[in-house]
């Protein structure tokens, strides 16, 4: 019975809870049991709060019992929150030693909206330290493992959120995407991950890595579930100046429309820059298969060239570290978090220095140093300034492309999940994981990853990236939902169910 509950989608769970066929408490307990059974192997969670989750679930049940309408279409459904959003009742560590045990005095807007929607937050998920990485190996608390193959990474930085959803520990999770940290983990774990339009989801309470790129978004096993979650967390927030004061795009409607499977007249552009050398052949074959499915659904597929995308990765690795070097300056041991060397003999400056040396991991240090350098007098124009110009060119490439097509598609990541430890000593190889996802961060438009079957060379999940213009998130949902329905029909069921049975794995 409880195992069965964890196999349901969020929409199905909500339907049963709201119809009082089951209770939110029962659903929550089933997922807690699943976490207890598999998370020792997966290590998706950094913090679990069973008591708070059960009490939030009980509150939902109580409301329904009294005949109140559910607070939202997802009331009573369990969720895992990336440990980069502040929570008053749980620590917020960002996967860093620096914030070990830090309890924020306030909830992020995303956290608050989830609570108000009656969504049950089970706990906080593992991540690369301060969201810097593509494998979740940069967490100070140990790596998360990919449920499809425990010797492989779940992608990153939001590997914990993606793995938790893929392992059926939760039907929903929240991630953040600065250069692909929602989409790439989703691609390699066979889940759906969405980076909404920049400004579509409030960043208030999202511990910043790169302010102009960071965007929170949903992780789920189905496109509809992602859309339902998107509508719960999205929308204008007066506490975030970069939040867009416009209605949330009608993503749920688009997901339902798309599921009918008709893409007649939809113009799909294949980005010609994203294939060739460095791409795993199995990934490219899965991608081509996905494109032909879109064609079968009635889409008009054309080739689109976005030449500036070739420069996206280097531009990103100047802009993101520059902003990060400033955003992470506040971690100095003075007010909260780790403090090292305060023995009464040292001055503040030395304590700051010792704290930062001890509190940050190597990848964070690498980026802080890179960004500090790029912003320095005499280098600013050559690095940060040039990177911003590339950003403008990428925005123009997208604008030109969206004149011709409704959405752009590409593989989400050049390869399937790689082995744990395989790229830790090769930052450039690691950075290449985000090659296809970075342009949408730089331009701020919407993009998502939907499972596109498995690679025929290693049997691991591949993601199809669908990119849409800013504030046209619904277009990406429609195409993804249509594709998902067609793929499930052809495969005889969702890809997610093919994940190995983790309970039997004893490590």
């Amino acid at each position: 019975m409880t195992t069965e509950l964890t196999r349901l989608s969020a929409a199905e769970l909500a339907g049963r809870i709201h119809a009082r066929d089951t209770t939110a408490v029962e659903v929550t307990q089933a997922h807690l049991d699943r976490v207890a059974a598999v998370d020792r192997a997966v290590h998706a969670f950094l913090h679990l709060d069973a008591r708070a989750a059960l009490s939030a679930a009980a509150a939902v049940d109580e409301g329904l019992r009294r005949g109140n309408p559910p607070a939202s279409p997802l009331a009573g459904v369990p969720l895992a929150l990336k440990d980069v959003f502040t929570t008053v009742d749980m620590p917020t560590t960002c996967g860093s030693r620096m914030l070990q045990g830090w309890r924020p005095p306030y909830d992020a807007t995303v956290t608050r909206r989830l609570r108000e929607a009656g969504v049950v937050i089970l706990g906080k998920t593992n991540m690369d330290e301060f969201a810097m990485g593509s494998s979740t190996e940069n967490s100070a608390y140990g790596p998360t493992r990919n449920p499809w193959d425990l010797d492989r990474v779940p992608g990153g930085s939001g590997g914990g959120s993606a793995a938790a959803v893929a392992a059926f520990e939760v039907p929903l999770a929240i991630g953040t995407d600065t250069g692909g940290s929602i989409r790439q983990p989703s691609a390699v774990t066979g889940t759906v991950g969405v980076k909404p339009t920049y400004g579509g989801v409030s960043r208030y309470g999202l511990v910043a890595f790169s302010s102009s790129l960071d965007q929170g978004g949903p992780v789920a096993r189905t496109v509809l579930d992602a859309a339902l979650l998107h509508e719960v967390i999205g929308g204008y927030d007066a506490l975030d100046s970069t939040s867009i004061d416009a209605p949330v795009p009608p993503v749920v409607r688009a997901a339902r429309t798309g599921a009918a499977g008709d893409l007649t007249g939809v113009r799909v552009g294949v980005v010609s820059q994203f294939r060739g050398e460095g791409y795993q052949p199995g990934v490219l074959r899965a991608f081509e298969l996905a494109v032909s499915r879109l064609r079968e659904l009635g889409a008009r597929v054309v080739e689109v060239s976005c030449p500036s995308f070739d420069h996206a990765l280097p531009a990103y690795y100047l802009i993101a570290p520059s902003e990060c070097s400033s955003n992470l300056a506040r971690f100095d041991g003075m007010r909260y978090g780790l403090r090292v060397g305060d023995d009464g003999t040292r001055g503040a400056e030395e304590v700051m220095s010792l704290t930062r040396a001890a509190g940050f991991g190597p990848e964070v240090k690498r980026r802080v140093i890179l960004g500090t350098y790029a912003l320095s007098a005499g280098y600013y124009d050559a690095y940060y300034g040039q990177a911003q110009k590339v950003r403008t060119l990428i925005i123009r490439d997208f604008a030109a492309a969206f004149e011709r097509v409704d959405v752009l598609v590409s593989p989400t990541s050049p390869t399937t999940a790689f082995g744990i430890g395989e790229r830790v000593d090769d930052p450039l190889a690691m950075y290449l994981s985000d090659l296809c996802t970075i342009p949408a961060n730089l331009a701020g438009n919407a993009a998502l990853s939907v499972p596109a079957g498995c690679s025929d060379d290693d049997g691991l999940p591949v993601g199809l990236q669908v990119m849409a213009p800013s504030l046209a998130d619904d277009r990406a949902y429609r195409v993804a939902a249509a594709y998902e329905a067609a793929r499930d029909a052809a495969d005889g069921g969702p890809l997610a169910y093919r994940v190995p049975a983790l309970e039997v794995v004893v490590r």
Binding site: T86, S241, T242
Partner: protein, 499 residues
Amino acid sequence: MTAALMDYDEVLERFEPVLGLEVHVELSTSTKMFCGCANVFGAPPNTHVCPTCLGLPGSLPVLNRAAVESAMRIGLALNCSIVPWCRFARKNYFYPDMPKNFQTSQYDEPIAVHGSWEVQSADGSTFTVGIERAHMEEDTGKSLHVGGATGRIHGASHSLLDYNRAGVPLIEIVTKPIVGAGRRAPEVARAYVTALRDLLRALGVSDVRMDQGSLRCDANVSLMPRGSSTFGTRTETKNVNSLRSVERAVRHEMGRQAAVLASGGEIVQETRHFDEATGTTSPGRRKETSEDYRYFPEPDLVPITPSDEWVARLRATLPELPWQRRARVRAEWGLSDLELRDLVNAGALDLIAATVDAGALPAQARSWWVSYLSQQANSRGVELADLPITPEQVARVIALVGAGALTNTLARQVVNGILAGEGEPDEVLAARGLAVVSGDAELTAAVEQALAAQPDVAEKIRGGKVAAAGAIVGAVMKATGGQADAHRVRELVLALVSA
């Protein structure tokens, strides 16, 4: 160690001073620059703080519209252009009283640029100061260094941090290089800051209290050899906490730099610290490398785009500015240039004007501020404006005299009471029992009593010796403790005797 100083006349013979003044003004908006915390001075430490002004992870700034409008009004009053598009930047450096370890400040895109400002120095002459820019930024928290002798960080055993001030809106007003003031340079510097203070007060945007740090001035000084047109190396003097200190600090730096240059030395570009007690400057902490603030546009805020309509609306809210007021009162009160200048120098003009606005006649308002109140200010060693009495209170005292409720002598006592913090004019009057006893019933009784006590005098008056009435008036005044209106007493005496 006291630096050698060159004689002031010799300094001017050999060098031309070049000044640059940076004034920081804390705005008196009700909330802080980027959050909803109250902007108040003197609250218990760390009681007006929130995630945003503490820079907690995840927090974000939201710009205070009232602060932007204050900045725009200041810019307009300084004859600056308000730019159609501007942004904030991050100024990155580490310091414990700065919660984010960067200051959110405007950098190369300030909101107001290219103004000019005419200041009047003590001798009445004017000097035009160019305004480079006025930009917005946030204040830092406050460090209290404990355990040292000086209160500075050197020698302190530990430091306490108060973040109430963190995020308070600041406007920094930067002059263009002030060249050509020559001998008057220190005085021009003081006159400029004075005029700016008056302007900001008239705009109602700040408390402009130098003693509380809501108006802070950094003085950049360099010397250029006579005949040269290349600016010398400058120093920046901080901790200049009064108008007088502005003048002293500039003068001291001129003398010190001249002595260094004359002895073949070089001026070190550095921050110097002004010591109020000695009137000298000393080097701040020497930085081993030049500071690189790694400015870049603040990604957490969106650009500010003041429309023409918005600018016009704010321009319409500008009050009568000090120089406009000067021109007007000179005409209205019929003052000579000299009289006006004396009033300006005494810091009395705005006070008199405000007193007139509160209903007093100009001549009476002037008389109070330039004589009795000026004496009081002098004896207390404070600026006239800092006396604890308001123009409205002075106007009320004048009104009470006009109504016959107070004599001039009693009015001074009421003013003394106000200055002593005893309350409003009417309260002091009542509490001190200073009211002129003008009720005829009381007075008549007192006069009758006096006449009865001195029947011989009464007889003399009746006999036509009117001057003898003085004795009765004196007796009544004595009996009423001097509070009776002597003129009325005399009338009553004459009336009762002939009755």
